[in-house]
């Protein structure tokens, strides 16, 4: 029997799930794009990114200086793995509920 996919409480919080799902489709994404896509404020996104970064799920890279300063967000291999496992866990719950 295969092990159960891992449900991840850290990822599952709605805002963080949206951030991680968006980053999972990308090699990297610009901070402003993620902020605008999810309709978040700079500080709200920074807070969530800091949490994901602390968990080792997201890496942050700053480039340029002054007005051309940009922040790139990237899902780390660990974050990508956790996201896949979490998505699989959700699908398993949905499948199990549908079967009963």
């Amino acid at each position: 029997m295969s092990p159960l996919p891992e449900f991840d409480e850290l990822i599952h919080a709605p805002t963080r799930l949206s951030i991680v799902a968006l980053l999972a489709a990308a090699e990297w994404a610009d901070f402003t794009f993620v902020r605008d896509s999810l309709d978040l404020s700079d500080s709200a996104l920074s807070k969530q990114i800091a949490t994901l970064e602390q968990a080792g799920y997201v890496t942050v890279r700053k480039t340029g200086a002054g007005r051309s300063r940009r922040t790139h967000l990237r899902l780390s291999p660990r974050g990508r793995q956790a996201f896949r496992a979490h998505a699989a866990a959700l699908q398993q719950i949905i499948a199990a509920s549908g079967a009963t």
């Binding site: 949206s18 799902a21 999972a24 489709a25 994404a29 794009f33 896509s37 959700l90």
Partner: protein
Amino acid sequence: MDFDDARAGMADIQAGQAQAVREAARWRWPRWYVAATAALMLGVSMAMDFGQDAALLIVVYCCGVSLLQIPLAARTRIRLHRSRVTLRVNWPLGALLIAVAGVYVLARMALGAVGAPLPSTLAGVLMAGVYAAGLPAAQQMTARRLLAAR
């Protein structure tokens, strides 16, 4: 964790991923980049008619194209994961570049055969024209494939 919560989570995941793909599909090469690339093609083609070292011009072209990537990268807001940027999605752009090279080679051979003056320059004009005219169509086809594949 119940069924509804799991379904809401999956909906969030799909929405986030669709948003990333839509942004990538919406992206277009800026006009300055297309113009600079076409100018580079034309400049190198012209230099070929004036006896410049072909190997040197190839290096100049490759360096020029690489340099253009720097400001281009600064304008990009997202780069899709490699699993989504497949040959199946991107083939129109690849086909365009092959066609552009083919146009130059065939036009130059034909113009050379009939003894036309400045064959490389004329072939370069054709090549740059095909590139600039074909890029929007190739990009639209790629965007459609990207959206369909999501």
